[in-house]
């Protein structure tokens, strides 16, 4: 054992998870870690299999791998695969590669299909105590269940396929305590956007972040998933929440979760997965959740975020020249003027979905705002459920009708407009309010202008046709 010392000294949740997966120490701060679960998707899976083949390697533990197409699948109702030949090559390549190696593959219209970070928790593939990796930066999502999870690159995917291990430098530990209660009209999305705004897009670089505090204890699992999902937007590869009774209630009974005698053994282990009282973090941050208003981004980095009742910031007031230039460029790209109230800005598109906010409670909160209202006539609004299971559950509650009657398109599960990998994009110059995770230049399409917000805020924007304060819709 290195770093945090022996098993008897107080350890953080992160240290416990890390130490339990050490196969070998490579140097004093780099370890070879065992990977319990490896999730792969259609944008990378095929390439990785080709590389395995080319190098004459074999897949060490096909039973620990699960695959699903999500990035390039069409979200159009009645879809059969991708939107074009190139997308189907990715899907077919993933399917064939899995079949050949005995890897479990959930196909495009299978009942288990969905965004990889939505179906992992949903199917019980993600449970506390696991080390889980996936070739996607939003793998931080899975930490919400007390699993150690992060996104890896293409070479590391091949490494994990061939060895079931990964070489990692031990990160530093940060704890973020959210105390207090979220105010009406605010959501976990607002909480994490506000944190990213405070710490900056690089504030979490080199850290594994544990979220704690009363607002986390009170938070449902879906909200914790949103929180951990966005950890990477402040640079932290790993987000974590210690498993508690809410976690256990969520996990138990899911298709791939331990059951019966196994569950008892697993539960005994899971109950040890909390940060010890005297454990020390490299950095501690405290934020009062009750002070957080609904947030919206104004720029081209998730750190460019303000409360919906604020005005667009002025680059002239930036702390330095580099920041001033970056702000000015972002405002030019976004077509916004310093000092203008952000609320009331006319929008063209709304996207509700993604691994950040494509779960059932997200759709419920959006539907609550939409119910009995109409999407503004100039706005094109989409709901893309995060998974087939989310879609089925939403339909059984009649949420699809609420959205469709209001003028939303109700679509098929996948990443869709979050990233445009499937060809679904926002047109140049169009302004989109999106529940996704990145407002980068061109993220939703070349020239597309993205405003990140919560599902309820996106719904409020859809029905008003402008950026709008969802608190005025509360009944």
């Amino acid at each position: 054992m290195t770093g945090s010392g022996s098993v008897s000294s107080p350890r953080t949740l992160f240290d416990k998870l890390w130490d339990a997966h050490v196969v070998a120490e490579v140097t004093s701060d780099v370890s070879l870690l065992y990977v319990d679960r490896h999730l792969i998707h259609d944008l990378g899976g095929h390439t990785a299999f080709n590389e395995i083949e080319r190098r004459g390697l074999s897949v060490r533990r096909p039973d620990r791998i699960f695959a699903v197409p999500d990035h390039v699948v069409s979200s159009a109702p009645g879809r059969t695969g991708g939107v074009a030949g190139w997308s189907n090559r990715h899907i077919d390549g993933l399917r064939d590669g899995c079949r050949k190696r005995g890897i479990r593959f959930f196909d495009v219209n299978d009942p288990e299909q969905g965004i990889v970070h939505v179906i992992g928790p949903e199917l019980g593939l993600t449970v506390p105590g696991l080390l889980l990796v996936c070739g996607d930066s939003h793998t931080s999502t899975h930490g919400a269940l007390g699993a150690l999870a992060w996104g890896i690159g293409a070479s590391e995917i091949v490494h994990v396929l061939a060895t079931q291990t990964i070489v990692q430098r031990r990160p530093q530990r940060m704890r973020v305590r959210f105390d207090g209660t979220l105010a009406a009209g605010t959501e976990p999305k607002d909480l994490i956007l506000r944190l990213i705004g405070e710490l900056g897009a690089a504030g979490g670089n080199g850290y594994a972040v544990e979220y704690a505090g009363s607002a986390i204890r009170d938070m449902e699992i879906d909200g914790r998933l949103t929180l951990c999902n966005l950890s990477i937007e402040m640079g932290a590869k790993v987000g974590l929440v210690a498993p508690d009774e809410r976690t256990f209630a969520y996990v138990v009974g899911r298709p791939f979760a331990p059951r019966d005698g196994d569950l008892e053994l697993a539960m005994a282990h899971w109950r040890t997965l909390a940060t010890d009282d005297d454990a020390v973090f490299d950095r501690e941050v405290v934020l009062d959740a009750s002070t957080v208003a609904p947030q919206v981004t104004w720029g081209t980095s998730p750190q460019d975020v303000i409360p919906i009742d604020a005005v667009v910031p002025d680059p002239a007031r930036a702390p330095d020249a580099s920041r001033r230039d970056a702000m000015a460029a972002a405002l030019a790209y976004m077509g916004l003027t310093p000092g203008q109230p952000i609320a009331g800005t006319r929008i063209d598109r709304v996207f509700i979905g993604s691994c950040t906010n494509g779960r059932l409670p997200d759709l419920r909160r959006a539907a609550e705002v939409v119910r009995g209202r109409r999407v503004a006539s100039h706005v094109q609004a989409w709901v893309v459920p995060g998974s087939q299971a989310v879609k089925r559950a939403a339909e059984s509650e009649g949420l699809d009708r609420v959205f469709k009657e209001a003028g939303f398109e109700w679509r098929e599960p996948g990443c869709s407009l979050c990233v445009g990998a499937n060809g679904e994009m926002v047109a140049p110059g169009e302004r989109c309010v999106s529940t996704s995770n990145r407002n980068f230049v061109g993220r939703q399409g070349p020239g597309a202008r993205t405003h990140l917000a919560s599902p309820a805020m996106a719904a409020a924007a859809a029905v008003t046709g402008t950026l709008a304060d969802v608190r005025t819709f509360l009944r």
């Binding site: 990035h71 997308s87 293409a154 061939a162 670089n205 640079g235 020239g447």
Partner: protein
Amino acid sequence: MEQFAVLQGVAAPLLFPNIDTDVIIRIERMSQYGRGELGPWAFEVLRFAPDGTERPEFILNRPPFRDARILLAGPNFGCGSSREMAVWALQERGIGCVIAPSFGDIFFGNCLQNGVLAIRLPVGTIDKLAARILGDPANATLTVDLENQEIRGDGRVVTFDIEPLARASLLQGLDPVEVTLQREAEIAAFERRDRQNRPWLHT
């Protein structure tokens, strides 16, 4: 993986903060093209106007920076998506070294996997290097010497730190998969122990 020893070439200052991997390579390029075809699309949104013509003011469109082999970048370079194609696209454009105050963690690791040297230097040091280069592009050629952990140019020397494991791995061009496969016995031993420790994961 290719070995990295000494790289000499033009260094292009691109000091904008938070350049994300979506900007380095757009997702539809990586879904439509494969490794070896990505170079022309590197920094597409910065290099080209919407009508496809080059933006003459963008540094990588100007001589001598068009042929840059080294990037002097701003804070948090390579943040965002885990797409390793960002590194491939840089490499295919001839860029073998990126120097920045900080990097996105996943991008930093991906560089190492591909023999691209990512160097962290204080922002002040990078600003000085950039100012000299922009002041007189005749000073744009730098020599990055990994063995001696030095950046030389214009008669000056800047030293840099690098983690010993990364340095050794780059200098020797080690293949991480081959290295780990040597540890098969330890991996198998972990699996046997784990069967005892976490039987619930093995049924």
